[in-house]
């Protein structure tokens, strides 16, 4: 009899228990034990679960992805040249100091790898772990907590501002297919601090692996965190990323995810606003081709009054690709004067591409402004003809129109060097797809 993937993960946990970081910390070991127990009971959710209705993880249920893979191939440092940043490079889940440039961080910035943090400052780690999501019982989160091998921990002291982005890079080039990495990142931004965090994920061509990322981010009053992701995994990869964000009073959190990679990917952001007048902007652009499945799922929960949230997403889909957007806004009864907005625009470039959009609004306060919108369609043939009638070739006309569509989304990115960096990546995709 063959083992189910859930049992395989359980066995792997039992086997790895002695080498996973933090094994000597009682509270941490307990967290891992509890997490694997919960995962063993649930396995991955199937499509009967409302949150996973459009994204089927059967491929993860059918076979387990093992954590103990060795690297092969090399990391091309060219990918670090596109943006001026403090680079923090991981390959197949392991920190690579030789590629990293985090030596001269400004004072007030504490940056550890998760592994080092467990060894050197477990008390601070314990303080940094977000309490807001303790009740969250998600299988992929539990699996991450049980098997996480590394990641980064960033703490910004009061009033600290970082001059350039912290660039977390993860490249997958495992020797064997069906390997997994479970990384866990922590960000704690104290009062009045400000930082830009950029995550880049890439992988060797056609490698089949599973990347399971969790970001745990807390913003204290008046902190500002600009958080950007580039999901450029290998075309065969499965990528799950979950950002859990807690915003306090007058803080600003901005998230933008550009997804171009992976066979199946989900970018999930859950933001809890517990503080007055916070501002939460979550946006993303997915560019899909072939049989890619790209999911953006966002939950914003307004616990306190007078805050603003904004969800702006776009999918550009060709071939047989599928784009999913689930956007939820919940407003508690005391969260009066909430201003929440949501918009999803899909452009289908082929008859066989498809887009699924699910807005979900739960409003329990009466003095709020909440609105949402969604559009799905092809490029406007009238616009194409207009451009062509001026001597512009049809493909160039399409590129101009798609350029306008993506530029409009990229405007959501407030940090200009990052916006330009993303623009270049999008242009590259367009050049490759439209010819």
């Amino acid at each position: 009899m063959t083992l189910s993937s859930t049992d395989t993960y359980r066995n792997e946990y039992d086997k790895l228990g002695s080498i996973l970081p933090g094994k000597n910390l009682v509270w941490f070991k307990r967290l891992r034990d509890q997490s694997i127990a919960k995962f063993s009971r649930s396995g991955f959710f199937d499509i009967k679960n409302e949150d996973w209705h459009f994204t089927n993880l059967s491929v993860l249920r059918d076979r387990a992805y093992s954590s103990s893979a060795m690297s092969e191939g090399t990391f091309d440092t060219k990918s670090l040249k596109g943006i001026d940043a403090y680079h923090l490079v991981f390959i197949d889940g392991k920190f690579k100091p030789s590629f990293s440039t985090t030596k001269n961080l400004p004072s007030g910035v504490t940056l550890y790898t998760f592994r080092d943090m467990l060894d050197q400052d477990p008390d601070l780690l314990k303080k940094m772990v977000n309490r807001s999501f303790r009740e969250l019982d998600h299988p992929e989160l539990n699996l991450n907590l049980a098997l996480m091998s590394d990641g980064f921990c960033l703490k910004l002291s009061k009033g600290t501002k970082i001059d350039k982005p912290i660039h977390f890079v993860h490249h997958s080039c495992p020797r064997k297919n069906y390997s997994a990495s479970h990384l866990h990142n922590l960000v704690f931004a104290e009062e009045d601090s400000c930082a830009t965090i950029l995550e880049s994920y890439s992988g060797d061509l056609r490698k089949n692996y599973f990347s399971n990322i969790v970001n745990d981010i807390q913003l204290e009053p008046r902190a500002k965190v600009f958080h950007y992701r580039v999901q450029g995994e290998s075309s065969e990869a499965i990528s799950l990323a979950k950002s859990l964000v807690c915003l306090k009073q007058d803080s600003l959190y901005e998230n933008f995810c550009l997804s171009t990679g992976g066979a199946l990917s989900r970018n999930e952001v859950r933001a809890v606003i517990s503080g007055k007048s916070a501002d939460c902007k979550i946006a993303g652009l997915s560019l899909g081709c072939k049989k890619q499945h790209l999911d953006n799922s966002v939950w914003v929960h307004h616990h306190d009054p007078g805050s603003t949230s904004r969800q702006i997403f776009g999918n550009l889909l060709t071939d047989f690709s599928k784009g999913v957007f689930q956007g939820s806004i919940a407003v508690d009864d005391i969260a009066q004067q909430t201003n929440a907005y949501q918009l999803c625009k899909n452009i289908l470039l082929s008859d066989t591409a498809s887009a699924y959009t699910k807005p979900e609004l739960q409003i329990n306060a009466d003095d709020v402004k909440c609105s949402h919108g969604a559009t799905t369609g092809e490029l406007d043939p009238r616009s194409i003809f207009y451009l062509c009638s001026r001597g512009i070739q049809e493909n160039d006309a399409k590129k101009i129109l798609l350029g306008a569509f993506v530029d409009n989304l990229l405007k959501e990115i407030l940090v200009i060097p990052v916006r330009e960096y993303f623009k270049e990546k999008v242009r590259f995709w367009l050049r490759r797809q439209i010819h």
């Binding site: 616009s383 003809f385 009638s389 001597g391 512009i392 006309a397 101009i400 306008a404 409009n408």
Partner: protein, 268 residues
């Protein structure tokens, strides 16, 4: 032979065209020489815009019979962009709003696309701006429209003005202006007319599609044609316009392609 002595700009021979399964043009004939301005007038639904779109190559308009020669070349298989590159320009009755695409980007791409086709040197940003300013000076217009997204949020008059700017910049050999005068107040109409007049030269032809004679008071056409039920039923000079003004289209109903003397006296 066509294009004899280089004077024939456009020859439309017995063109039949279908839109949404309905035959709109039913034997359309027209001959335009280099340097001429022709006006096509006709009631709603007579096929004026269909003719304009057939010339520009819109895929929803299917030519089922006949031939169109532009500078002696059959254009049937040419894509809309190739027609534009060869010098055909359509001024739209309803210009399309394209949010997010700036005028400078659009116009420079268009101009360079045409120049590339004509094997002329493409213009860099500075050269383009210089040329654009020269064009705007000629038209006595300013840059404000160019800085905005193409047609987005433009008033009716601004959209028509923008079409004229594009025409002046792209310097076509043949311009078909589809009701460029409709919905304009008198000042805007004069501005458009001035633009058209300044573009008039011996190597360029224009076809003005219009409902009214207003524009033709400012831009005197060489020939005037009356279109009805998909074919030209009357051709002549400005006197046709005057008759039309007095009697409406009904006076031409029984006309066949003959001289102006065939207009029924009773209808005057």
């Amino acid at each position: 032979m066509t294009n004899q002595n280089g004077i024939k700009m456009l020859e439309v021979k017995d063109v039949h065209a279908v839109v949404d399964g309905k035959e709109i043009l039913q034997g359309f004939n027209l001959s335009v020489k280099s340097g001429e301005i022709h006006a096509i007038m006709g009631p709603n639904g007579s096929g004026k815009s269909t003719f304009a779109h057939i010339l520009a190559g819109h895929e929803s308009y299917e030519m089922t019979k006949g031939k169109i020669l532009f500078q002696g070349k059959n254009i049937k298989t040419m894509s809309p962009d190739e027609r534009a590159c060869r010098g055909i320009f359509l001024g739209f009755q309803y210009p399309v709003e394209i949010p997010g695409v700036t005028g400078t980007n659009f116009l420079r791409t268009a101009l360079n696309s045409i120049r590339r086709f004509q094997k002329r040197k493409e213009l860099n940003a500075a050269e383009f701006l210089k040329m654009l300013r020269k064009t705007l000076d000629l038209l006595e217009m300013d840059e404000s429209l160019i800085k905005r997204s193409v047609n987005t949020g433009f008033s009716g008059g601004e959209k028509k003005r923008y079409e004229i700017i594009q025409m002046a910049l792209l310097e076509p050999r043949l311009a078909i202006l589809d009701e460029t005068d409709s919905g304009l107040d008198i000042d805007a109409l004069k501005l458009i007319a001035r633009g058209i007049t300044r573009m008039r030269d011996s190597k360029r032809s224009m076809i003005l599609i219009t409902h009214y004679q207003r524009l033709l008071e400012y831009v005197k056409p060489d020939r005037v044609h009356i279109l009805s039920h998909g074919k030209i039923i009357k051709s002549g000079k400005m006197d046709i316009v005057e008759r039309l003004e007095k009697g409406g289209y009904s006076i031409f109903k029984n006309s066949v392609l003959q001289g102006p003397e065939s207009i029924p006296v009773s209808a005057k």
